[in-house]
């Protein structure tokens, strides 16, 4: 469906040069942080086979209802393809097919995902994500969270981190006798604020010696909350213990690093593929990223069972929140190079001058655009004086381009 005014497909956006500068600034800050942490950049295809996302434990049917799937030239086989609705699953596929040598892979990406949203909302989202695949234990989770916080701080934001553990809800709902499918549905109802699900679970757990609302209605502020939950519920739901232990390790480490994570029983929606720590990142009161541990995912997409975790930062809100970026840097001296006449010799002189000045690392534009905003103007002729420089210091004339370059450097 076309937006008739812009001739764009519904849910798709154009980015103008200024917006694109901000996008690149976000991506640049992210890449700088990732490289400092030792991550290497990858890119996965926009089109993937649909079945990569349909296995139980990958994307939920509700998410799959909103993907762009279609039959391509090879669709006679009956297999559909899909515009990448998620980047973690392709990264897991890439690892299982190309990198799985038992070594720890530290990968980052800057790419888009496609999902149908409500009417008018964006259907193409750009994400900056990092995946840590291999047996790293709690250290890996802490390292990823530290990376996300550093990347956000590199964007001049003050991030907050919210943590959960998929095992908490899974332990409680499992103890209540729910199947994995019922757990996924109940989890979504919890996130939707449907309190009836808490009553339903409590009615199935007569052995509880503390109210479940302690878990679902109180947002904790650190390790102390985890110990409160442990004392109240671990006796009646023993399966909570490993999840609380893992969460406590990460929270205490982050607290020792000076971070103040908040703790929640239920967090990100992608419940099914998360198996451990789940994380969300906020800045200026907006959600700007999420991730978690997904130890079963690499196996689900055809690899070995390899522990893994990752996160993605959302470019759209970051572009809005990031203060005026200083990247890409704007040259202090911006030179417009023009020919003194339409004569071929003068035009050639201007082009040659621009090339020589650029090789001297001077920003020189031989065609002036709407955004050029030149600080200086160099008029080039075939005859002496060959160069006339107009700038804040007035008018100067030269016969040698080296002298022009020196004058500009001096300015």
């Amino acid at each position: 469906m076309l937006d008739t005014e812009t001739q764009r497909s519904r849910g798709m956006r154009d980015l103008l040069p200024g917006e694109m500068d901000r996008v690149r600034a976000v991506e640049h800050a992210f890449a700088v942080a990732c490289r400092a942490w030792g991550y290497r950049e990858v890119r996965t295809p926009v089109i993937e086979p649909l079945h990569l996302f349909t296995s139980a434990g990958t994307l939920s049917p509700q998410t799959l209802d909103r993907v762009y799937s279609f039959l391509d030239w090879d669709g006679w086989s009956g297999e559909r393809v899909v515009l990448r609705p998620d980047s973690t699953i392709p990264a897991a596929r890439l690892y299982s097919g190309r990198l799985d040598g038992g070594r720890i892979a530290k990968l980052f990406y800057r790419q888009n995902v496609f999902r149908f949203g409500e009417d008018g909302s964006s259907r193409e989202e750009w994400q900056c994500g990092a995946e840590l695949i291999g047996d790293t234990g709690g250290t890996g989770d802490v390292d990823l969270i530290a990376l996300a916080l550093a990347a956000l701080e590199g964007m001049k934001l003050e991030p907050a981190v919210r943590l959960s553990h998929a095992g908490i809800v899974r332990a409680v709902l499992g103890a209540a006798g729910m199947t994995p499918d019922e757990q996924a549905r109940a989890y979504d109802r919890l996130l939707d604020g449907d309190e009836g699900v808490i009553d339903d679970v409590e009615s199935r757990l007569p052995q509880l010696n503390a109210p479940l609302r302690l878990l679902f209605e109180v947002d904790g502020e650190g390790a102390a909350y985890i110990e409160n939950v442990r004392s109240g519920l671990a006796g009646s739901v023993p399966a909570l213990v490993p999840a609380l232990d893992e969460l406590a390790l990460v929270v205490k480490t982050l607290e020792a690093m000076g971070a103040r994570p908040s703790i929640h029983a239920a967090l990100a929606r992608s419940f099914e593929y998360y198996s451990g720590i789940v994380m969300e990142f906020d800045a200026a009161g907006r959600r700007v990223g999420a991730g978690g541990r997904y130890d079963g995912l690499v196996e689900l997409v055809g690899g070995k069972r390899v522990p893994a975790s990752g996160f993605a930062l959302y470019v759209d809100p970051l572009v809005e929140l990031m203060p005026e970026p200083d990247w890409p840097p704007r040259a202090e001296v911006r030179l417009a190079v023009v020919a003194a006449s339409e004569a071929p010799e003068a035009l050639a002189a201007a082009q040659a001058a621009a090339v020589q000045l650029r090789s001297a690392r001077i920003h020189a534009e031989a065609v002036e655009g709407a955004d050029t905003a030149p600080t200086h103007r160099l008029t080039c002729a075939a005859d002496s004086p060959r160069y006339r420089l107009d700038g804040p210091n007035g008018e100067q004339t030269f016969d040698r381009i080296d002298d022009v370059a020196r004058a500009l450097e001096a300015s």
Binding site: T54, S55, A56, W76, D181
Partner: protein, 463 residues
């Protein structure tokens, strides 16, 4: 003028009775007239007859304000396009049937094969059932004929479980309760006075508390089948419907007898008098895909359907191996009341009148899309249709891509053929990957016999 889309086919009699009871009688519609348009409400409304499947699409597009059709077709549209503009108004209380998920056995291939006339609902079910790998094969009909050799599951319409069992299938679950519904276009409901029509019709409908939704079974218990043994029998697909008489003639000319495939009979698995060959009768439209994936070694279909398949899937391994020379007709771009005699001239005329997309209606949606690209129509939309095609232009589409033979129907409907761009005859198709060994030799022998009976000397040897 209120525009109403009414069904032909199974729902026609009950819909005519409803209109009668509501004080909106259309005697010619009730009497089975072949006309496609009927005046209503003393000229305040006009009714157009469609195949049931086309009605939700036409109402969603806004070509019609109100429609009557089976809710299953509305749901089929909804599963693919949840934001469409169809509002479900009320259950009309007739045409009751269900959509049933059914299997022949309790085994499935690792990539579960689902065959259905309702591919979008089938996709939804596959996702809801968390099938880790599946393939949905849309078919024009005869879905029940596919299991067990050519499908693990089918999604078919049936009155009840006994109706499913009558096809030799095991009902797994009824996943959607269908019946005739009154539907309307959302924008028409919002801004156009439809009360003269809706008032009487709603008074005769049943308002359910909630429109039904697709409900998958709780679980699907299918064992994963092992690798099937190599086939020893050659599999030949023969067409039903209009193409059957031409195929019977081609087989007779080749000296091949197929018992149970006489003109006017539909037996899905007739017997052929060629050793080592088994036959299945399905829709000719669906054959190329099933030859491509290896369900059939050979099929007799129309070259038009092969063309439609190949423009959608250019990498398909299907090719024509014999031109049987019968069932000859052309595919053409047809218009009505357009002052132009070329496609380019017509496009220029439409563009001068409206910036809206040029609507190309066809039973061959992939060929229509191909045609629109080839003829550089610019901003266009393809409207897939199931039949009653001659009534589409100019009201419901600018161009109709349609098969024509003598042109008598074109003349009778005062239509204009702008461009006859493709010639079709019936043909034998096969997979580019010829089977090896005895099966390959058997295929060659059958092809040779069919070639010997071809109606023209222009039999084509595939590469």
């Amino acid at each position: 003028v209120i525009r109403v889309a009414l069904p032909t086919g199974d729902l026609r009699r009950d819909t005519a009775a409803l209109l009668d009871a509501a004080g909106l009688p259309i005697p010619d519609y009730a009497g089975g007239s072949r006309a496609l348009r009927f005046p209503m409400l003393d000229g305040g409304a006009t009714a157009r007859v469609f195949r049931e499947k086309d009605i939700p699409v036409q109402v969603a597009l806004g070509n019609y304000d109100v429609g009557v059709c089976g809710l299953t077709w509305v749901e089929e549209l909804t599963q693919r396009f949840p934001n469409h503009d169809v509002v479900r108004l009320c259950d009309l209380g007739y045409g009751s049937h269900g959509l049933w998920l059914a299997a022949a056995g309790d085994e499935a291939q690792a990539s579960v094969r689902v065959v259905s006339e309702y591919p979008n609902i089938a996709e939804t079910l596959a996702r809801r059932l968390r099938l880790s790998r599946y393939r949905v094969f849309p078919v024009w009909g005869a879905a029940e004929a596919y299991p067990p050799e050519d499908a693990d599951l089918v999604l078919i319409s049936a009155q009840d479980a006994a109706g499913v069992e009558a096809h030799g299938l095991r009902p797994v679950a009824r996943v959607f309760p269908g019946s005739a519904w009154l539907i309307a276009n959302r924008r028409s409901m919002a801004a156009k006075d439809l009360s003269a029509l809706l008032g009487p019709l709603l008074a005769h409908g049943r308002m359910p508390s909630r429109a039904p939704s697709v409900t998958p079974p709780d679980a699907l218990t299918l064992r994963m089948a092992g690798e099937p043994p190599p086939r020893e029998r050659l599999r030949l697909a023969l067409p039903d419907g209009h193409a059957q008489s031409h195929t019977v003639a081609a087989l007779q000319a080749a000296g091949v007898r197929v018992y149970g495939y006489e003109e006017g009979t539909v037996v899905r698995r007739p017997q052929i008098d060629v050793d080592g060959v088994e036959v299945k009768v399905v829709r000719p439209q669906d054959m190329p895909q099933h030859v491509a994936i290896g369900h059939f070694d050979l099929a007799i279909t129309g070259r038009d359907w092969l063309f439609d398949h190949l423009v959608q899937f250019p990498s398909s391994p299907v090719l024509e191996v014999v031109d049987l020379g019968r069932s000859r007709y052309g595919l053409a771009a047809i218009v009505k009341d357009v002052p132009a005699n070329t496609v380019a001239g017509a496009v220029e005329w439409w563009r001068s009148r409206s910036p809206a997309p040029i609507r190309v209606a066809s039973e061959y949606p992939n060929i229509a899309d191909h045609f629109a690209r080839e003829r550089q129509l610019g901003h266009y939309s393809v409207i897939p249709i199931a039949g009653a095609s001659e009534g589409f232009v100019p009201e419901d589409a600018e161009i109709l891509i349609e098969g024509i033979d003598t042109g008598s129907s074109v003349r009778a409907n005062k239509l204009t053929v702008l461009d006859r761009f493709y010639e079709s005859t019936n043909c034998v198709i096969a997979n580019r990957r010829r089977p090896e060994g005895a099966l390959g030799a058997r295929l060659d022998a059958v092809v040779e016999r069919l070639r010997s009976g071809a109606a023209t000397p222009a039999a084509v040897q595939g590469g």
